[in-house]
């Protein structure tokens, strides 16, 4: 039985094509992936991301626990700030990537990948039980939240029409609590598209009202509903990792280019020893972005060749709606990761030319 978000009926009414995504029935597209993608790049799009999981960490021991649990340095967070981070296993593989919200020194919220929610929560309980932590309360509050992402250059303009406290002064990766169309909401200037925008967390029973209010407020600006198809192409153009593709139990954050959220100078966190060793020895493979130089579309699991032999594997690929060329991410041997390196992608029976590119693929002002 697939789980449904509170907006399931609205998506179907809007003509969405629904798919099974990590056990959730989610809209993959409404009018078309390319149209939705370009709307987010040029105007604004509204995504139902209520499938994402939320886990609360409270208590006087919350920060010490989070510091041991995550790879990034949560002690640097101020109240109202968000941090991108990851959970690792002791061997350095990734449990999940996530965002961490600091309300105050004793109240934190993780937003985690939908399909990983139960796994993450079980892992957090295990780390908590294994360590010497005091005063930490852990709650899976995923059912208490619906979530919408309003993304695109016009997102702020549209949101400002529905808020009493305008989001104008809120910086990237910061959040505040306010009313959106009368609904108490965590308003977070974050996203997974590379555009300016917001992720909104609120009670599930308000989801239809808030969705309709936003769609109405943005109708004249070209706001459209956007499905998971364009969510994937948008994040790919930015080289944002997707768990299960660029990150997994077999891929370390250092290999995936997430050294910037892996704070090895922290005295301790789960996975630190293994990652430190990997860093000292040098990672043997690296995540790169590439674009096709000949016609073809790369897809996950296609082999990557150079110098007549396989040197890596594609982790994600698509036709880039912005660039109108095949682009992809791949894990390749260290020696083939430099920008400009010529590669070949094994597409069915052919080897098709590609080149390592600077990322993000799409530059935003």
């Amino acid at each position: 039985m697939l789980k449904k978000t509170p907006l399931n009926a609205i998506h179907k009414q809007a003509g969405a094509r629904m798919v099974d995504f990590g056990g959730w029935e989610m809209p993959v597209q409404y009018r078309g992936v390319i149209e939705e993608h370009l709307a987010v790049r040029n105007a604004a799009g509204l995504f139902d991301v209520s499938h994402m999981g939320e886990i609360k960490v409270d208590g006087p021991g919350a920060l010490a626990f989070i510091q041991e649990l995550t790879t990034n340095d949560a002690s640097s967070l101020e109240n109202g700030q968000v941090q991108y981070s990851a959970l690792c296993y002791p061997h350095g593989g990734v449990v999940d990537d996530l965002t961490l919200y600091r309300f105050d020194e004793e109240h934190y919220l993780f937003c985690v990948n939908a399909a990983n929610t139960d796994k993450d929560f079980a892992w957090m309980e295990e780390v908590l039980a294994d360590g010497d932590f005091h005063g930490v309360a852990l709650h899976n509050v995923s059912d208490d939240f619906a979530q919408l992402a309003l993304q695109g250059p016009l997102a702020e303009t549209i949101l400002a029409r529905l808020t009493d406290t305008a989001p104008v002064g809120i910086g990237y990766y910061h959040f505040y609590e306010g009313l959106v169309a009368g609904v108490p909401t965590i308003i977070s200037r974050t996203g997974y598209t590379g555009e300016d925008g917001f992720e909104l967390y609120f009670a599930p029973d308000a989801a239809e009202n808030l969705w309709n209010a936003l769609m109405e407020a943005g109708a004249d600006d070209g706001l459209v509903p956007v499905g998971l198809g364009a969510r994937d192409t948008l994040r790919l153009e930015m080289k944002y990792a997707l768990y299960g593709h660029e990150l997994s139990t077999e891929i370390s954050p250092l290999e995936a280019g997430l050294g910037w959220i892996t704070k090895l100078d922290k005295p301790s966190f789960v996975g630190r020893e293994a990652l430190l060793k990997q860093k000292e020895a040098g990672v043997s493979r690296r995540l790169i972005g590439f674009a096709m130089t000949e016609p073809g579309i790369p897809r996950a699991d296609y082999p990557v060749f150079a110098e007549g032999r396989q040197v890596g594997v594609v982790t994600s690929g698509t036709m880039s709606p912005s660039l109108r060329v095949g682009i992809g991410l791949a894990l390749v041997e260290q020696g083939f990761a430099a920008i400009g390196t010529r590669l070949q992608i094994g597409i069915r029976t052919r080897r098709v030319g590609a080149k390592v590119e600077k990322t993000p693929f799409v530059k935003k002002g």
């Binding site: 993959v28 597209q29 078309g32 073809g296 579309i297 897809r299 036709m319």
Partner: protein, 128 residues
């Protein structure tokens, strides 16, 4: 959704127009709608001999890769040269400008396996 009367159809959602021993082949309106935005089409070379039921090409949407199967056996005598540069023709005109290959029929007997428009429409409605 359109189901032109003059065409024959397969369970894999290809259409066939038979004229003077030549089969023109494409994918149906239902198929292009299910795929979404078509962004890449791979076709065989002229002269390739196709076997009915076997994959002869590939249609890719932004999200997915789908094989296209030969509805009849025979030799490819022409391919739609427009499709590599304008694959969206498969979406905008699946039965006309979005045609894929012309096949010189090897064996007329196979045509009995194809559905007419009414049968295909019924088949599609059962699938939905």
């Amino acid at each position: 959704m359109e189901f032109p009367e003059e065409l024959k159809y397969t369970e894999e959602h290809e259409w066939v127009l038979i004229e003077d021993g030549v089969a023109t082949v494409g994918i149906t309106d239902f198929a292009q709608d299910a795929l979404g935005d078509v962004v890449f089409v791979e076709l065989p070379e002229v002269g390739t001999v196709l076997e009915a039921g076997k994959s002869f090409g590939v249609v890719e949407s932004v999200k997915a890769v789908s094989d296209v199967y030969a509805p009849v056996s025979g030799e490819v005598i022409e391919i739609n040269e427009e499709l590599p540069d304008t694959p969206e023709l498969v979406n905008t005109s699946p039965y006309e400008d979005g045609w894929m290959v012309k096949i010189k029929l090897a064996d007329n007997v196979e045509l009995d396996d194809l559905m007419d428009a009414d049968a295909y429409q019924e088949f599609v409605e059962d699938e939905e």
